[in-house]
Symmetry: C2
Subunit: 231 residues, 2 copies
């Protein structure tokens, strides 16, 4: 068995894939639902296209900048916790040692074996901090370059996803026809997107495709019903 | 020093707070930006209210169900990885032992001390699996009840956030006046929300408040500009 097989089997969605999924899931759903909803309430595709594009740009910026700030907050949170661990190892060393002991006692270590592990980890400050960050707090060091890439990926995916339901309203002037084409185009896109998402998250592809279609359909149905009430 | 102080110092946003933040960040931003954008393009507050409510319900469903499915996927992913670790411990035990060894060698353990730790962890199958899940894969056991609660929290927060910018358009028929009230009300809400978010994520409250306001303002400005071009 090749050495890489183990890693491949445990493959989970990379952060970029996760960002595409975050952006596209909402991008395919909300502008589609908004346009479908407005189809029940207005007389001109112009209003639908204007509202749809305003929503797409607002959503892309809100989600993209939101992702940027979240990634930055993660990095700051990590740095703050790291310097706190450093401070604690410096100033309340005895209690930090106890924390490592407690952790390994939970895995059945006792006596000399326990002391050996704790001494080994505590012998190197940098390693000790790394251990506490990972195993006590469950934090992984974030990639400092991730924030802008994450923002662009989420925002771009939202725009790509959001244009699919809107293009029919740009090309066809009859609202009912445009709505039908938008439903078919977006339905297919949701199915494909759901299947690809399933592939990356390890969920059954068919189920993921149908679930994604269902979310889009429910959102659009509710928006249509609400706009119909008010329109 | 009381026993809880250490936990409190390391306090990070709970999952419910995170869900409120996810829902409200977008809820306060996107409907506000959409309404502001449409103010530049349409002649009636009715269209703005209809489009805004359609967006709010679509966004709440898309984000809420998205959160539901994400929480479910996390739980399934954990279960799948857990049964894989179980299989590997059963069938390729020698390699799993090596993985534990490698992990502790990275923390400076050698010889007998290393063997003692590895033996202790490998002596109890359940504990061993738990160890691999947490320390090799970095996965924590998800709470099975989280999915529906997460969905309702995200969706509800989106609706609460989204109604704030829309209410002025429901009460005032003059678009320019409604837009001004909406900007002031949403601006204040974004500042408060940003400050509270800063409190929970450990970021400076003033900076978090201004950042949140900036995201909302940029999204609304871009939507306004785009709708103005097309309207």
């Amino acid at each position: 068995m090749p050495a890489t097989s183990h890693i491949e089997k445990h493959f989970t969605a990379s952060e970029s894939v996760r960002d595409v999924v975050i952006g596209m899931a909402d991008g395919l759903t909300v502008p589609f639902a908004l346009a479908a909803g407005l189809s029940a309430a207005v007389q001109s595709t112009d209003v639908i296209v204007t509202a749809g594009l305003a929503e797409v740009v607002a959503g892309a910026i809100a989600m993209g900048l939101g992702g940027y700030l979240a990634a930055r907050t993660d990095a700051e949170h990590y740095a703050a916790e790291e310097s706190r661990e450093n401070y604690e190892i410096e100033n309340i060393r005895a209690r930090e040692i106890k924390e490592v002991e407690t952790l390994f006692r939970g895995y059945g270590l006792e006596g000399n074996a326990l002391q050996n592990v704790v001494n080994a980890i505590a012998s190197d400050r940098k390693r000790w901090i790394d251990f506490m960050m990972r195993f006590e707090l469950g934090l992984e060091r974030p990639d400092p370059k991730r924030a802008p890439v994450s923002a662009a990926t989420i925002g771009g995916s939202y725009i790509v996803g959001g244009l699919i339901p809107l293009i029919p309203y740009m090309l066809v002037r009859d609202i009912a026809t445009a709505l039908q084409i938008s439903i078919i185009a977006t339905g297919l896109a949701l199915l494909c997107f759901g299947a690809i998402k399933g592939q990356f998250t390890g969920v059954n592809k068919l189920r993921s495709a149908l679930q994604t279609l269902l979310v889009g359909g429910l959102a659009a149905g509710a928006a249509y019903w609400l706009a119909h009430l008010f329109g």
